[in-house]
């Protein structure tokens, strides 16, 4: 079962439908109405996109810390930033804002599940970004914006933690389904 934690976003149900392609048991609740039975039962926890910054969601931070390396964890947009924030990363405002923006990104690490150097189009909705350098045990930045070089994906294959700054579920993202499929079967 996959448990999707919604941060009251307007894209979360696109995430739900995308994950439904690969698992017939998906549950989704608001971050402030978490059901602990579902949470304990889940094989995968997904932190959804949402407004604001990771520090606004201490409840989600608690869940992350509790289940890190016990369950597979996937974060999208805000969820990606939540993972980084809980691993000691700093999330800061960027000058250029990407709301509804389609841009090219590239797989930059050979430690990625995905083929190094592959370039593809993705949909982005973020005003905040990861401040670098970011160093944390077992975490690897695996994709970057082709133009600005901003971190677009992290993978921690030891603890089975994955995150995307862009939105795999957006209609602007090429091969979004493939990304999720590969991570779920990893």
């Amino acid at each position: 079962m996959i448990y999707i934690i919604d941060h009251k976003d307007s894209f979360t149900y696109n995430v739900v439908h995308q994950f439904s392609k690969f698992d017939n048991k998906i549950e989704c609740d608001n971050f402030d109405k978490i059901n602990s039975v579902k949470l304990n039962k889940a094989d995968v926890i997904v932190f959804s996109p949402g407004p604001g910054s990771p520090k606004d969601y201490p409840l989600s931070a608690k869940i992350y810390k509790k289940f890190k390396s016990k369950k597979k964890i996937i974060g999208i947009c805000l969820g990606f930033q939540q993972i980084l924030f809980n691993e000691g990363g700093k999330i800061i405002e960027q000058n250029k804002i990407y709301h509804g923006f389609q841009s090219l990104i590239q797989v930059t690490s050979k430690k990625s599940l995905f083929d190094k150097n592959k370039i593809f189009k993705v949909g982005r909705y973020h005003s905040l970004k990861l401040k670098e350098p970011f160093i944390s045990k077992n975490f690897e930045i695996t994709m970057r914006c082709k133009i600005s070089n901003v971190a677009m994906a992290i993978e921690n294959r030891v603890d089975q933690i994955y995150g995307f700054q862009f939105h795999p579920e957006s209609f602007l993202t090429e091969n979004g389904n493939l990304l999720i499929k590969k991570i779920l079967s990893a």
Binding site: S10, T12, G52, G100, F101, S127, S170
Partner: protein
């Protein structure tokens, strides 16, 4: 419009009625046998009432009316602080007994045999302006609000937000006259009017929010408007939208948001963009439109559909709930009908609803025209302020 004895008598009477644009003409509903004033305390029992109706296929099996913005906030559990308001009803629905199809030919169907005798005394108002239109937020104040929300966007609290401004005057209006005058220049696909005893609404809304038949549902968000000139045509309108980064980003965001709203109530895998980023042509402008379709899950109620889809995202901003919270604490005056929805619910659960924009509400001899445009990072306060005026102007001009 063609002369018709019955319609002439109706327009000149005091009888309440509603007109809704359909493809190829208009449907007019009248002889209301029931009228519901909905508020947060009774809206659920209204939905239950529809569910419990046994004879679903009776003649004129529908309620027609509107949800104002505030009741939609309530249905979404979003708080609205105390605002200046006219005490205008939050939502009204009517059960019609007579329907007139205004097409090339006019046909009348009624559950009353003597429908053509049911007129109360004559009433005819000429339009009369008692004070000129005034705006409730001037450019300096607008700029302050704009800058405040630009900051919220940088912080990621909202991705886009639409601020409402209002133009108001004191006036007596003849809504029938205004409506047909408006339809001559802009018979937008979701146009409608309501004339009741103590209020009227005249609208040329272009935007379909919900069209549901059986388990099929579709929505048609609009994001992007281009004014016509002698140089523009469908082709260069499309390339204008495609090459304009601001319009493209706004449109993308609305499409993903509406996909997600539909996904709340639809079977996984059925939500599809059936027509992506195309141009619709109107008399004075072009719109950038996407059509999204889906198949509704079993056990989804009328209320579930309304809560998932309303208020329409394209007129609020994104993400919807947090942006509504920001809006409600900013706006000091009630939106009333603006960014609510007008339409009908059939007793079998089918429905059609628009988004109430480009509308005049006349109540207590005050006409108000509300407009909104988006704060996004690539825009400026001066540009959006002007944009608001352009949107209101075609309605303000009706009073000339």
């Amino acid at each position: 419009m063609k002369k018709n004895y019955y319609l002439d008598k109706l327009y000149n009477s005091k009888k309440p009625f509603i007109i809704y644009k359909v493809s190829g003409g208009y449907d007019l509903y009248t002889d209301f046998s029931e009228k519901f004033f909905l508020n947060k305390n009774n809206v659920n029992s209204f939905f239950n009432k529809i569910n419990n109706i046994k004879n679903k296929n009776k003649f004129l099996n529908l309620y027609v009316g509107f949800f104002g913005y505030e009741i939609l906030c309530h249905l979404n559990n979003v708080r609205v602080p105390k605002q200046k308001n006219l005490n205008f009803p939050k939502s009204i629905f009517y059960k019609p007994e007579t329907k007139i199809q205004i097409r090339k030919k006019i046909s009348i169907k009624s559950s009353y045999k003597n429908y053509d005798q049911l007129f109360r005394k004559k009433n005819f108002n000429h339009n009369k302006i008692l004070s000129p239109f005034k705006i409730n937020i001037g450019i300096d104040k607008y700029r302050k609000i704009f800058n405040r929300f630009s900051k919220r966007i940088k912080e990621g609290k909202t991705y886009q937000i639409k601020i409402c401004t209002k133009y108001k005057n004191k006036s007596l209006i003849n809504p029938v006259n205004l409506f047909w005058k408006l339809m001559k220049t802009n018979s937008a696909p979701e146009s409608f009017m309501i004339r009741d005893k103590n209020y009227s609404i005249v609208s040329c809304s272009p935007e379909t929010l919900i069209e549901k038949k059986g388990n099929k549902i579709k929505t048609k968000p609009i994001a992007g408007t281009l004014r016509k000139t002698y140089k523009t045509n469908m082709r260069n309108a499309l390339s204008f939208f495609k090459n304009n980064i601001k319009e493209t980003k706004e449109h993308n965001m609305i499409v993903d948001m509406e996909r997600s709203d539909l996904s709340k109530i639809c079977i996984p895998g059925t939500v599809k963009l059936s027509k992506t980023k195309y141009v619709e042509e109107y008399r004075h402008l072009y719109h950038y439109v996407t059509r999204i379709d889906g198949m509704i899950k079993k056990d989804i109620s009328i209320k579930d559909i309304i809560v998932a889809m309303m208020p329409g995202g394209s007129v609020i901003g994104c993400p919807k709930i947090s942006t509504m919270n920001l809006l409600n604490f900013q706006e000091k005056e009630s939106r009333n009908i603006f960014t609510g929805s007008f339409g009908f619910i059939k007793f079998n659960g089918d429905m059609r609803f628009n988004i109430i924009i480009r509308s005049i509400l006349n109540y207590k001899n005050i006409s108000e025209i509300s407009v909104a445009s988006g704060v996004v990072i690539d825009s400026t306060a001066a540009h959006e302020f002007k944009e608001n005026y352009i949107k209101a102007k075609s309605l303000i001009d009706l009073y000339k």
